[in-house]
Each structure stands twice: as structure tokens, then as C-alpha cells.
């Protein structure tokens, strides 16, 4: 039989260490409170998504600050009346405002969207007219992830605007125009493909409601 010969003090200290370990392991799993979508490496990611920038500013906006419940409902209606999962009003959306010298030249904004095996984190960079300049999937689960994060797939979104997405219903996944011609890189991942399209549309609608439509 094995016995523990260590002193009571060292046993206690060991116990504390184990408790800390246990709690830290519990905390090692995802435990974020708010479902804010932020770039993992803002400094390098922003420069990559908006190469001509000289500086950028991070700001936050939420439905609580402007519009509240009615605005949330309005946006859901614009997205085909598909209520977003886990979309509390007070969750702040992170916005990267891009500057060239003193002049604001665009935005980078990301949203979370339900995907096949987990959340999709989809970012777009936009010029001041709301045209997509770059497309970036930060997170996608599944063995087909690389097909979606490939440059080839992302290129299909460049130049698109909200007008293009308005001709496409992201709930029934039917429509016409440029969005309808975007090809699914992984036929087995239809949920993720349509999730990405929904995410981009949600992104553009949010930006329109909060920024572009409020401009003089």
C-alpha cells in the first residue's frame, strides 16, 4: 500500500495548487461573457485587410446605445426575419475605423454567425461607400475550413455592396445577381456556406443602419 509521507503543510500547499489547477482548467474552456467579434491580432490584421491605412481607431457600438429593440427588429426584418441567436441588445460590436492621414477612409467590421459545427467569425473591410475591399473568415470549424478561408473564395466578395446582397435572400438561399454566382467551395458544408453569406449580409446591414445611412 502506498502512503503519503509528506508533511501536512506540503499536503495543504499541494491541495491549494490542485484547486487552482482545477479551477484554471475549468476556466481554460471558452468562457467569454459577451459575443463580441474582434480581430485576434488587430495590429497586423487591420494592416492586412486595409493596406493603405496610416492609423486606425477601435470603437464600439451597440443597440442599447442607439435604436434599441426596434432597431434590432428592423435589422432582423432586413435579414429576412431570421432572429439572431444569442444577440442581446447590450453586446458591443467592435468597429475598426481606418484612417489615411487625418481622413477616414473605411471600416473593418466582423460578425458572429451560426455555422455547421460552431461559430463563424466573418470580417469585411469597407470603403466609405460601403463597398467590400477585403473579406476574412477568422474562425470556422470543420475539415473544409481551409476551402472557405482561401484567397480564391474570398475574392468573390470584393467589390460587392449591400445592394448586391439585397437581391439575394439569405434565408431561403435564393436570389439573383452577383451574390448568387458565388460558388460554394465545399459542397458538404452548405450550412457554413450560407452562414458566410448571411454573415456578410448581416455585417453590411448593421454597418448601413449604424453608419452609412446616418451620413448626411
Amino acid at each position: 500500500m502506498a502512503t503519503d509521507n509528506s508533511s501536512p503543510i506540503s499536503r495543504l500547499l499541494k491541495n491549494i495548487a490542485v484547486l487552482s489547477l482545477t479551477l484554471s482548467l475549468f476556466m481554460a474552456v471558452p468562457a467569454r461573457a459577451a459575443m463580441n467579434c474582434e480581430l485576434n491580432y488587430p495590429a497586423s490584421d487591420v494592416a492586412r485587410l486595409f493596406p493603405e491605412l496610416t492609423s486606425y481607431k477601435t470603437s464600439y457600438f451597440s443597440f442599447t446605445q442607439r435604436g434599441g429593440e426596434p432597431l434590432l427588429r428592423k435589422i432582423e426584418a432586413r435579414l429576412g426575419n431570421a432572429p439572431a441567436l444569442y444577440a442581446p441588445l447590450d453586446v458591443p460590436y467592435t468597429l475598426y475605423e481606418i484612417y489615411k492621414g487625418d481622413k477616414k477612409v473605411g471600416y473593418i467590421h466582423g460578425v458572429n454567425q451560426k455555422g455547421q459545427f460552431g461559430v463563424l467569425e466573418v470580417f469585411v473591410s469597407l470603403d466609405m461607400n460601403g463597398r467590400i475591399k477585403a473579406f476574412y473568415i477568422q474562425r470556422i470549424a470543420g475539415q473544409w475550413g481551409k476551402k472557405f478561408t482561401s484567397r480564391q473564395f474570398g475574392k468573390q466578395f470584393i467589390g460587392l455592396t449591400l445592394k448586391d446582397f439585397e437581391r439575394y435572400d439569405t434565408v431561403s438561399c435564393k436570389g439573383a445577381g452577383k451574390v448568387a454566382t458565388i460558388g460554394n467551395p465545399a459542397s458538404e458544408a452548405a450550412t457554413d456556406f450560407f452562414g458566410v453569406l448571411r454573415a456578410v449580409k448581416k455585417n453590411l446591414v448593421l454597418m448601413d443602419e449604424f453608419f452609412y445611412s446616418t451620413k448626411g
Partner: protein, 393 residues
Amino acid sequence: MISRFQIAYKNLLRKKARTLLTLVGIMLSAWVLVSLLGFNRGYESALNRDIDNMGYQLMVMAKGCPYEAATMMLQGGTGLRYIEQSMVDSIVNRPEVDKVTPILMQAFFDPDKGDGGGIAGYFGVEAATFPAMKPFFRFRQGGWFHDEQALEAVMGFEAAELEQREVGDPILVPEKNVQLKVVGILERTGTQDDGTIFVPLKTLQKISAIDKITTIGIKVKKDADTTKLETSLYQLPDVQVVSFTQVKQTIMKLVATARVMVLSIAIIALLIAMVGVVNTILMSVLERLQEIGILKTMGAMPSDIFFLVWTETLILCSCGGVAGIGLAFVFARLSDILVRRVLPYAPGGELVAIDLKLALLTLAVIVVVGLLSGIYPAWKAGRVRPLESIRGE
């Protein structure tokens, strides 16, 4: 007729800067004192809650350096120390034991998570024994696994929120590419369970290609001798026993040591503030000797003068105390954040818990100590001889 309070108030207003500085001193002391007392209460209850929410009082795990195990696990679960599942049978029948649950903790590297990938933690538990350890769990959607070998998962509220999962949705175990179906989503508990993904033990063992477990959680019978059980468990080969009650007591002792030191500083701050009070009131008395003399010639008794000066002390201490307690209430969350930064292990929930009872207690301490400090200047004022003071001026 003008009241004693009005006279005292007007006297204090004569030297506004001095009065304000004294008030600031009392206010800061009150702030520190109430925050410390609030921490004393909040920390203990938060620690109790965290440990109670673990569901079990004892944990049996493989012998070895826990930090080494933590590093291994956080690096991807390789090299973890395991114990035989048969050990559960040797524990469950002991007279002190109420319930036992085997747990397998596994961590897989998820390249899509966080900055450059991260660790996704999975807890393999038995639907038959684990829920009894966590009676406070409530399901937001669904329920526990349908059988002990199902490819199913139950997600904590935040884990589901983060991954945007609902009951019926699939999740993928990173590295292993095994698909699980979400069958339950828990309500928010305010504990680390919110971020946890629970999988049937046998399923996780199959996914990880391992037939062992990492931990046995033990719920001890009410009034059972935990120390005796702990000692007997140490007779099992190559295990270490973690007693949460003992750990809690030890942490509380460590915290108490730190608290005594901080409380000493708070008492010194309080004493300095009170010296300030004595100084302010005494200066005020010495500057008003002639007035006090005239009051006496008009028939004021020494006790009248004493209480007049004492009232000034009361006003100073009450106002400073109320302001300090108000600040403590306003900045309670900030104090919480600061304490969390300083303490290596801080339980979840409110660490600085200030309520009305505590606020009133602190105010009473400040006022009583203040009034004690005010006795000397008030006594000195009461003893002023009218003729001498008038001549002296």
C-alpha cells in the same frame, strides 16, 4: 433660536480649507475601512460558493506535481496522469462516502480558437452520477445524455453562446474530428461550468483512446469525518486527495494574514485621520478662546461648551464617514477588479460585498472613534477660564 448644531456647523465653515482637508482624511479612512470589511465578507462567501458549486468535497487524482499536470493538459492533454476507473468501486462503499463520480478531463488543440489556436476542454462525466453532484444545474434547453456511450454533448451557457449552438446542433471535437450532437444547454450558473462542454465519460474515453479517468469527485455524508476519509484514501496507490474544505480553510488563513496587514494599515489611516480631527478641532478651540470666554461670562456651562465642540467633531466624522462609505459603494466594482489583479487565486462573484449593515457599522466605528478623539479638544474648551481668555486676547 439657533441650535447647537447650527453653531457648530457655522464654526466649521469659518475655516473651509481646513475643514475640507479633515473631511477628506476621514472620508479616505472610511472608504478603506468599509472596503476592507466588505472584502472580508465578500471573499469568504465567494470562496464558499465556488467550492460548494464544485459539488463534491473531496477529489482524488493521480499523484504528481499538479502544476506539471496543468502545463501538460493546457498544452494538449499529452502526458496527463490517469487513475484506474476501478478505483471508484473501492471508494464508493466507504461509510463516509455519500456519492462518487468519475471524471475524465481532456484537452484538444483547436487551431480555429483564439489567437493562433487554443485548447478546447472537454469533461467526460456519467449522466448517472454527475448530475447528483450539481443539483443546482438547470437546463435552458434539452437535458442530459441519452446513454453513457452516446455521441452527445451538454454545453454550459457561455460555451453554447460562444459557439452559437442550440439543442440538436452538431459540434466537432478538434484534433479527433469526432462529431457530437448537442442534447442539452445549461442555464447560466455564474461558475466555471458555464464554459464547459460535458460529454459522456465512455464517449470521451473512446475519442481519446483511453480507458482511465483523471479525477474522482466524492461527496461526503453529512457529519461524516472527512479527515478520516481523506487519510484512508491516501492508502490507495499513487493518488493524492484534495480536500476542498481544508483548502478553503487554508486559503482563508492565508487571506486572513494578508487581511490583518491591510487592516493594520487601515487602522493607521484611521488614526491619522483622527489626529487630523483632533488638530482641526483643537486649532479651532484655540482660535476661539475669547469667544468661548464670552460665552461663559454669558452663563454657558463647561458642559455646554464641551458639547458644542463635540458636535463639531460629530459633524466632521459623520459627513466624512458618509462620503467615504458612498465612495466605497460607487467604486466597489473597481475595488473588486483591483483585488482580483493582486490576488493569485480569486473566486468568482462579488469579492467586495458592501451592504447597508456593513455601511452603518463602519459609520458607527468612524463616529465613535471620532468622538473619542474629540474629547480632549472639547474638554480643553470646557475648561477655558473666561477672564483669562478675554484678557489673553
